[in-house]
C-alpha cells in the first residue's frame, strides 16, 4: 500500500512536470525511429542519445533513457511487417507472420496487432516490475549455466520446427549459424578460433552484422529479381486496431506471451529472441487456427511482440533490483544511471527510492506514449511502401552498410555483413531458410559456452543437466517438441484417423 502511494506520488510528479513528459516523449520518438529503421538498432540509439542526457538533472535524464529503451524495442515491428526486415533482433519472429499479413493486404491491421501487443507486453512487464520485482529477480538467479544451455537448445529446436519447410534444412541452417558463432576468442579458454592471427577475426562474428547480413541483404537481392515488390501501400489507415471481439480472442495469448517475455527478460543474458520464440511456439500450440501460422496469423504477431516488449521490461527488473544488466542495452542504461550518481543494486530502493519510483512511472508513461507515437509514426513509416523499388533498395542497402559500420566503427563488420548477405541469398535460393542461421548465431555462443561452463562446475559430470530440476524440465520439453508430434500422428493413424480430444480440422 505504501508502495502504491509512492508510485502515485511519482506519477503525479511526472504529470506536473511538462519537461519530463516532453523528454519521455522525445525519448520514445527517437527510440522508435531507431528501432523502426533497418540497419539502425536499439543499442545504437541508446549509445548515441544516452550521453546527451548527461547534462540533465538525474530525474529528467533517467526518464529519457528509459523512454529511449522502451521505444526502440517497440519500433522493430514496423520494418518486420512492411519489408520482412526485422528492425531489432527480437523482431525476427514478428516477420514470420507479420510480413505474410502485409502481403495479403493486411499491413495496417498487422501493425495494429503489433502495436497493441507491444504496449500490453510493456504494461504487463511494468506491473511485474512494480509488484513482484525483487522476489522474481532473486528467483531467476537460481538458474545457472545448465539451465541457460537447456533454454538455448529449446530455442534452437523451436526455430527449426516453426519455420515452414523441411526440418532437415532448418537444422542444417541452425548448424551453420552455430558454426559461424565459433569464430573469435573462445569464451572459456580465451584462445582464438578461426582467427588466422588477425585482429579483425579475433572479434568474431557479432550478432548484429550477421543479422543485418543474413536478413536484410537477401531480402534486398530478392526484391531486385522479383516482379512484384513488397506489399503495396494501403490506401487508408482505417481498421488498424482490431475489433474488441477479435482482440479479446487474443487476450490469453497476449498475457501468456507477455509473461513468457517477462520471465526470459528477468534471467540475465538470455536475450529477447528466445522469449519471442518460446511465446510464438506456445501461441501456435494453443491456437485453433494453427495452420495459419507462418502464413499470416495475427496470433503469431501478437505472441512475438507481446513477448519482446515483455523482455524489455523484464530486463529492467534485475538491473534495478540487483544491479545486474541482462544485455548490452541494459548495460548501457546501467552506465547512464551510474553517471548520474545512482548505483543500481540491492540497495537502490533504500538509497534512492524516489528515483526508483520515478523510473517506474517513466516506464508506464513511455508505454503509453508508444501508442501515440506508433499510431502517428506508422503513417510516415508506411509511406516507405510508396517509394519505388529502384530507390528503396539502394537506400536500404546504404542504411545496412552505414548501420553495420557504426555498430562498432569497424569496416570489417561491413565485410562480414556483405559476405553473409551473399551467402544468405545463395542459401535462400537453395531452399535453406536463413532464420535458423540467425538464431544459431545468437544462441550458438549461449549453448556452447553455458554447456561447457555447466560441465566445468560439475567437474565434467553430464548428469548435472538431469539432476537440476529446471534444466531437466526444459530438456524434457525440448525432447517433447521434437518427438511428440510424429508420435501423436502415428498413434492417430493406427486408430483409424481419430485423434483423441483434438477435432480433425485442428490437426496439422
Amino acid at each position: 500500500m505504501e508502495n502504491l502511494g509512492l508510485l502515485g506520488d511519482a506519477i503525479f510528479f511526472e504529470l506536473s512536470n511538462p519537461l519530463i513528459l516532453a523528454l519521455t516523449l522525445f525519448g520514445v520518438v527517437v527510440g522508435f525511429t531507431f528501432g523502426a529503421t533497418p540497419g539502425l538498432t536499439a543499442t545504437m540509439g541508446v549509445a548515441l542519445f544516452v550521453p546527451l542526457t548527461f547534462p540533465l538533472p538525474a530525474d529528467y535524464a533517467i526518464s529519457m533513457m528509459i523512454a529511449l529503451y522502451c521505444g526502440s524495442m517497440a519500433g522493430g515491428a514496423i520494418p518486420a511487417i512492411l519489408l520482412n526486415i526485422p528492425g531489432t533482433p527480437s523482431a525476427v519472429v514478428t516477420t514470420i507472420d507479420g510480413y505474410p499479413m502485409a502481403r495479403n493486404g493486411l499491413a495496417v491491421r498487422a501493425y495494429g496487432w503489433a502495436l497493441i501487443s507491444s504496449v500490453m507486453g510493456g504494461l504487463v512487464a511494468w506491473v511485474a516490475l512494480v509488484t513482484i520485482a525483487p522476489a522474481l529477480a532473486r528467483l531467476a538467479l537460481r538458474l545457472g549455466p545448465a539451465e541457460y544451455a537447456a533454454v538455448a537448445l529449446l530455442g534452437m529446436t523451436i526455430i527449426a520446427t516453426i519455420i515452414p519447410g523441411k526440418l532437415s534444412k532448418g537444422l542444417l541452417a541452425a548448424a551453420i549459424g552455430v558454426g559461424l558463432s565459433v569464430v573469435g576468442l573462445d569464451q572459456i579458454t580465451g584462445q582464438g578460433r578461426w582467427t588466422f592471427d588477425t585482429l579483425a577475426l579475433m572479434r568474431g562474428i557479432d550478432i548484429m552484422p550477421a543479422l543485418i547480413g543474413l536478413l536484410v541483404i537477401p531480402e534486398l537481392l530478392k526484391s531486385i529479381f522479383e516482379k512484384q515488390g513488397h506489399a503495396s501501400a494501403p490506401k487508408s489507415l482505417k481498421g488498424m486496431l482490431p475489433p474488441i471481439r477479435e482482440w479479446l480472442g487474443q487476450l490469453v495469448n497476449t498475457l501468456r506471451s507477455a509473461a513468457i517475455g517477462v520471465a526470459t527478460g528477468i534471467v540475465p543474458a538470455l536475450g529477447g529472441s528466445v522469449g519471442s520464440l518460446i511465446a510464438y511456439d506456445q501461441a501456435r500450440r494453443f491456437d485453433r487456427n494453427r495452420k495459419q501460422y507462418g502464413k499470416g496469423a495475427p496470433g503469431g504477431v501478437v505472441a512475438s511482440e507481446a513477448a519482446n516488449n515483455g523482455v524489455t521490461g523484464g530486463a529492467l527488473i534485475p538491473l534495478l533490483t540487483l544491479g545486474i544488466p541482462g544485455d548490452t542495452v541494459t548495460a548501457m542504461l546501467l552506465g547512464g544511471l551510474m553517471i548520474h550518481g545512482l548505483q543500481p543494486g540491492p540497495r537502490l530502493f533504500e538509497t534512492s527510492g524516489d528515483i526508483v519510483w520515478n523510473i517506474m512511472a517513466s516506464v508506464m508513461f513511455a508505454n503509453l506514449f508508444i501508442i501515440v507515437v506508433g499510431l502517428i509514426g506508422f503513417r510516415f513509416f508506411v509511406r516507405v511502401l510508396d517509394v519505388p523499388r529502384h530507390l528503396l533498395t539502394p537506400a536500404l542497402f546504404v542504411l545496412a552498410v552505414v548501420g553495420t559500420y557504426s555498430l562498432a566503427n569497424q569496416w570489417f563488420d561491413v565485410v562480414i555483413m556483405l559476405g553473409l548477405g551473399t551467402f544468405g541469398f545463395a542459401a535462400m535460393m537453395a531452399g535453406i531458410p536463413v532464420y535458423p542461421m540467425v538464431i544459431g548465431v545468437i544462441l550458438g555462443p549461449l549453448l556452447e559456452s553455458e554447456l561447457r561452463r555447466a560441465l566445468v562446475i560439475s567437474g565434467g559430470d553430464w548428469t548435472t543437466f538431469l539432476t537440476r530440476p529446471v534444466s531437466a524440465t526444459i530438456l524434457a520439453l525440448t525432447l517433447a517438441a521434437l518427438v511428440l508430434p510424429p508420435v501423436i500422428r502415428a498413434i492417430a493413424r493406427r486408430r483409424g484417423g481419430l485423434v483423441p480430444q483434438v477435432p480433425k480440422e485442428y490437426q496439422e
Binding site: 550521453p51 549455466p145 572459456i188 585482429l199 543474458a269 540487483l322 544491479g323 551510474m338
Partner: protein, 324 residues
C-alpha cells in the same frame, strides 16, 4: 586604468578560452577533438570512468570524443590505436587484461607499438563469496578448498587475465586444484555468485561494492599488499599467510596509450591535462566511491611499471595456465 581593465578582460578570456578553442601548447596541440578509444562496451567500468573524465578534460583544455571499440579482450580497439597516426589525436585505454593477452602472444600486437602516456587507475581485486556462504573468513574458505581438492569453483570475468591469475593463486595458496569458471563479464559473475551457482569469484570492488554492502556478497580477501580503504575489515592474502605474488608484483591497471612515436611534447600536454582531471575533486570522489586508486605516474616510471607488470604476467601465465 583602462589598460588595467583590459588586462583583466584578457585574463578572463584566457581563463574561459578552453571552453571555446582549446588550450594552446607549444605546438598548438590540440586544435581539434582527441579520439579516445575505449576498447570495452559502453557501460563498463572503463567506459564510465572515461565519461566522468570527459567534461573535466574539456575544462582542462583537452576536448575528447569517446569511442567504444569492444572485442578481443580490448585488442581490437588497441589495434586501432597502434595503427593510427602518432599525432596525439588518437589515444586508447590500455588495461592489464589487454596487456596480458599481448604478453602471452595471443593477440597480433606488441607493446612497442604504443607510447604509454599516463596511468589512470589501479583496480584492486578481491575474493568474494555469496552472502549466504558458510565460509565467513578467508581461512575457512582455504580450509574448504583443502577438504575438497579439485572441486571448489572460482569464477572470473574472462580467462587468461589477472582475475584468472589470482583465482589460480588462491588455489596455489591452498595447495590444491580448483575449478576455474570464466564468464563473459563481471556482472554475470555477480549474478552467478548471488544465485549460489559458483562458490567464489575474483572481482573488482567497483563491480561488487553495492552487493557487498547489501549483504548479498561477502569479501574474504584482497589481492594486494595493503588493505582497502573501502573495505578496512577485509584482510589481504598476506595477512593470512598466503603469497599471491610468487612471481613478482602484478596489478590490475588502466593507462592511456598513444601510437608509438608520439611527439614527447604532445604526450606531455595530454598527460598534464589528464593528471589535472584525475586529481580533481570530482574524479577523486568517484574513485573513492568505486574503490579504485588514482596514481598518475608518467614517462619512464610508467614505462618501467608496464614492462615489469607485463613480464610478471607472462611469467605467471606460463606457470599458471599450463596447469589449468
Amino acid at each position: 586604468m583602462i589598460r588595467h581593465l583590459n588586462c583583466i578582460a584578457l585574463a578572463a578570456a584566457v581563463a574561459l578560452g578552453p571552453f571555446a578553442i582549446g588550450a594552446a601548447s607549444a605546438q598548438d596541440f590540440p586544435t581539434r577533438e582527441v579520439r579516445w578509444i575505449i576498447p570495452w562496451n559502453p557501460g563498463g567500468s572503463n567506459d564510465i570512468m572515461a565519461r566522468i573524465l570527459q567534461p573535466i578534460l574539456e575544462e582542462e583544455g583537452l576536448p575528447v570524443v569517446i569511442e567504444n571499440v569492444p572485442g578481443g579482450t580490448g585488442a581490437i580497439g588497441m589495434g586501432q590505436v597502434a595503427t593510427a597516426a602518432p599525432d596525439g589525436y588518437t589515444v586508447g585505454q590500455g588495461t592489464s587484461s589487454t596487456m596480458a593477452i599481448i604478453a602471452q602472444g595471443q593477440a597480433p600486437l606488441r607493446d612497442d607499438q604504443f607510447t604509454h602516456i599516463i596511468r589512470i587507475s589501479i583496480d584492486p581485486l578481491i575474493l568474494v563469496v555469496p552472502g549466504n556462504s558458510p565460509h565467513e573468513t578467508l581461512a575457512e574458505f582455504i580450509d574448504h578448498m583443502r577438504e575438497n581438492p579439485g572441486e571448489v569453483t572460482i569464477a572470473t570475468p574472462g580467462a587468461n587475465n589477472l582475475n584468472h591469475i589470482f583465482a589460480a593463486m588462491t588455489a596455489r595458496g591452498a595447495e590444491v586444484d580448483y575449478r576455474h569458471v570464466p564468464y563473459p563479464g563481471g556482472s554475470r559473475v555477480v549474478a552467478e555468485l548471488m544465485g549460489n551457482q559458483v562458490e567464489a569469484g575474483v572481482l573488482k570492488p567497483s563491480e561488487t561494492m553495492e552487493q557487498i554492502q547489501a549483504g548479498d556478497l561477502r569479501a574474504l580477501g584482497v589481492f594486494q599488499e595493503e588493505r582497502l580503504d573501502v573495505l578496512p575489515d577485509v584482510p589481504t592474502f598476506a595477512d593470512e599467510g598466503i603469497d599471491v605474488f610468487p612471481y613478482g608484483p602484478v596489478v590490475q591497471m588502466a593507462y592511456l596509450d598513444g601510437p608509438a612515436g608520439l611527439d614527447p611534447e604532445v604526450r606531455d600536454t595530454i598527460a598534464s591535462a589528464f593528471e589535472a582531471a584525475m586529481t580533481s575533486e570530482r574524479f577523486l570522489a568517484f574513485a573513492e566511491e568505486n574503490g579504485f586508486q588514482v596514481d598518475p605516474i608518467t614517462g619512464e616510471e610508467l614505462e618501467a611499471e608496464i614492462e615489469a607488470v607485463s613480464a610478471a604476467i607472462a611469467e605467471v601465465a606460463g606457470q599458471v595456465f599450463e596447469e589449468d
